[in-house]
Amino acid sequence: MTSVQSAPAVPSSAPSERRPVLEVRNLVKHFPVRSRGLVRRKIGDVHAVCDVSFELYPGETLGLVGESGCGKTTTSRVVLNLQPATSGTVLFDGREITGLKQSEMRRLRREMQIVFQDPYASLDPRMPVNEIVAEPLRIHGRYEKNGRRKVAELLRTVGLNPEHGNRYAHEFSGGQRQRIGIARALALEPRVLILDEPVSALDVSIQAGVLNLLEELQDRLGLAYLFVAHDLSVVKHISDRIAVMYLGRIVETATRDELFASPAHPYTQALISAIPIPDPVKERARTRIVVTGDVPSPVDPPSGCRFRTRCPKFANQLSSAEQQRCIEEIPALVDRGQGHPAACHYAEVVNVL
């Protein structure tokens, strides 16, 4: 096993100390939809994130999973205060950070860093890699003492050869570029990394190496990850706990093993059953829960339960009196006896694997 050598010391609190490092409460993010023409009046809202709450504990990985347009990326941006929240609170270390000023936010960004999806777009093509990794250090005035050594150490930490630091990003493979992005995020010794689809642009054989690296870094540095992705197999592999999002809301949240052993929300069940398993015998023996249609527009989301328009349970199993409840009442994200919270009035465990 190729072990990774000396790393920057990170003040990591023990995972046993169960105080969340990041707490998100009733987060809402709406984007205005404007009319055409000169005045561009506001004519509606894109309900990108609605009433999302979760905690992230030190040293753990929370997977935020959902299909495109479900609001998972917006959630991660709002948590970082890269986009202002419409309402709700984000607490970092018990301190409210929504509405902080730019300068105050900058200090906080040392603690919370992001790794972007596309390693081809997130690295400056005109900067040598050393400079890319050094940039956050310079911005925060930490480069002067031992800056060069620190950068070399960071490159080694992410499994790259520090001797390649003078090269430019285009000379690296996709997986290596993503490692550069991770090195840059680690430069300020953060406690929380927000990983926004960090491996979805990579080929599988390369993706595996980056996932291994992320696991190793977490073990060594005690980082907490908010891992945002659409690929449930990847999320299952890396996460301790998982929150499933659909159309701006969290529909189910559980520990990894529980979510896959006993999914209670019809959407989670459909999602798990839709993922192909690379095993011909198992794959051909499975029965799919097929969801009809496409995700509705977030400008005008369905009333009550947002999944009801595609829900196989709603369509096939519920009586019209029961359906009425789905239409009128927004299901709360609570435990209805399945062992973990699910936002479905008629939550019921179904084994789909």
Partner: protein, 389 residues
């Protein structure tokens, strides 16, 4: 049975199967693209046979030549591409045909489904019109009859309220519906072969499941055989009868879907399987990535192109590129000098759960001497005295 190198008169193709009842016969197909730096050998001798109603899965990573292979089969490559070898549909040679002669085969016998439905549909015509156009190109039928058939086809592929939807423009459809409309166009003329190039890659998983169902419907309705190109081994496991694994422009392993998934005989296949995070796996074990990256297809060094990343590399691998040879059975062939060593091996036995990735792509596969020369010049320009590897 010895594997022939794909001479068109031979009775057996290099995938170990007889050519007698083949619907589509691709033989030693090679494609090169001239560039300023030299010729990119994107496809270097692909041979396969496709039987009626069979689904052949072609898997490989980006740049392995899987899409270029199918573009060459359809005759869709730009004029600058250097194509050689043979592509035969039943008994007709397709390579070298004129555009008008090819048009008879396209749609009627061979249909293609592309990855991005938005760029394969015309934004200024309604979806119904575009399906009718495909029908009228090959059949002498009235506009009304074609439109009626188009609505039928849209119903078959699962578009709700097809009659109204036929009058919509592509931008009014969602991604999954667009791809289903493209499938309807592909089905329109009852093709014998459908080539689907990453048909579900741009779609969400729940929609992917719907589109895969639609593809199955399309195959049953038309009785067509399918070439399914994808990087998703899960999709292949569920759909394909036979699988062709590509690496650096060449097939490195061909076999039945069970051969490939349960008894792989090429280290690359084994490595791919080991790097997949799986839903059905128990506790999170570390994955086993394949270190390094695929070689550049310009000036490919001699020997096995996978050798620089291979855990069982021997000196001979750097000298001689292995041919496809029969392994567990005559129809399961692999291009590896040491394929018998893989018997009973799991990915974890061969590959390491490594974390580092410290060889730059351009360095991999080049001889060390050449490497040093190139590096010296480059770094001298950028940072004097820095970055010698």
């Amino acid at each position: 049975m010895t594997a022939s190198t794909g001479v068109s008169t031979s009775r057996n193709n290099s995938d170990g199967r007889s050519n007698d009842d083949a619907l589509l016969l691709v033989d030693n197909l090679s494609v090169g693209f001239p560039t300023e730096d030299g010729v990119v050998h994107a496809v270097r001798g692909v041979s396969y046979t496709l039987r009626p109603r069979e689904v052949l899965g072609i898997v490989g990573e980006s740049g392995s030549g899987k899409s270029v292979t199918s573009m060459a089969v359809m005759g869709l490559l730009p004029k600058s591409a250097q194509v050689s070898g043979s592509v035969r549909f039943r008994n007709d040679e397709l390579l070298g045909l004129s555009e008008s002669a090819l048009a008879k085969f396209r749609g009627e016998h061979l249909a293609m489904i592309f990855q991005d439905p938005m760029s394969s549909l015309n934004p200024v015509y309604t979806v119904g019109w575009q399906i009718a156009e495909a029908l009228r190109a090959h059949h002498d039928m009235s506009k009304d009859a074609a439109m009626t058939r188009a609505v039928e086809l849209l119903t078959t592929v699962g578009i709700p309220r097809a009659k109204e939807r036929a009058n919509n423009y592509p931008h009014e459809f969602s991604g999954g519906m667009r791809q289903r409309a493209v499938i309807a166009i592909a089905m329109a003329n009852d093709p014998d072969v459908i080539i689907a190039d990453e048909p579900t890659t741009a779609l969400d998983v729940t929609v992917q499941a719907q589109v895969l169902d639609t593809l199955t419907t399309a195959r049953h309705e038309t009785g067509a055989a399918m070439v399914l190109i994808t990087h998703d081994l899960g999709v292949v496991a569920g759909q394909a009868d036979r699988v062709l694994v590509m690496y650096a422009g060449k097939p490195v392993e061909i076999g039945s879907v069970d051969d490939i998934f349960y008894t792989p005989r090429m280290p690359y296949t084994l490595g791919l399987l080991g790097s997949l995070p799986r839903l059905d796996a128990g506790d999170a074990e570390r994955l086993t990535p394949i270190v390094g990256s695929p070689p550049s297809l310009i000036n490919l060094p001699p020997g096995c192109p996978f050798a620089p990343r291979c855990p069982i590399r021997q000196p001979i691998c750097d000298v001689e590129e292995p041919e496809l040879r029969p392994t567990t059975s005559a129809t399961h062939v692999a291009a590896c000098h040491f394929s018998e060593q893989l018997e009973g091996k799991s990915p974890a036995d061969l590959f390491q759960t490594s974390v580092a990735d410290d060889v730059l792509p351009e360095d991999a596969g080049e001889s060390e001497q050449q490497d040093r020369v190139v590096r010296g010049e480059e770094t001298a320009e950028q940072v004097p005295g820095g970055g010698q590897s």
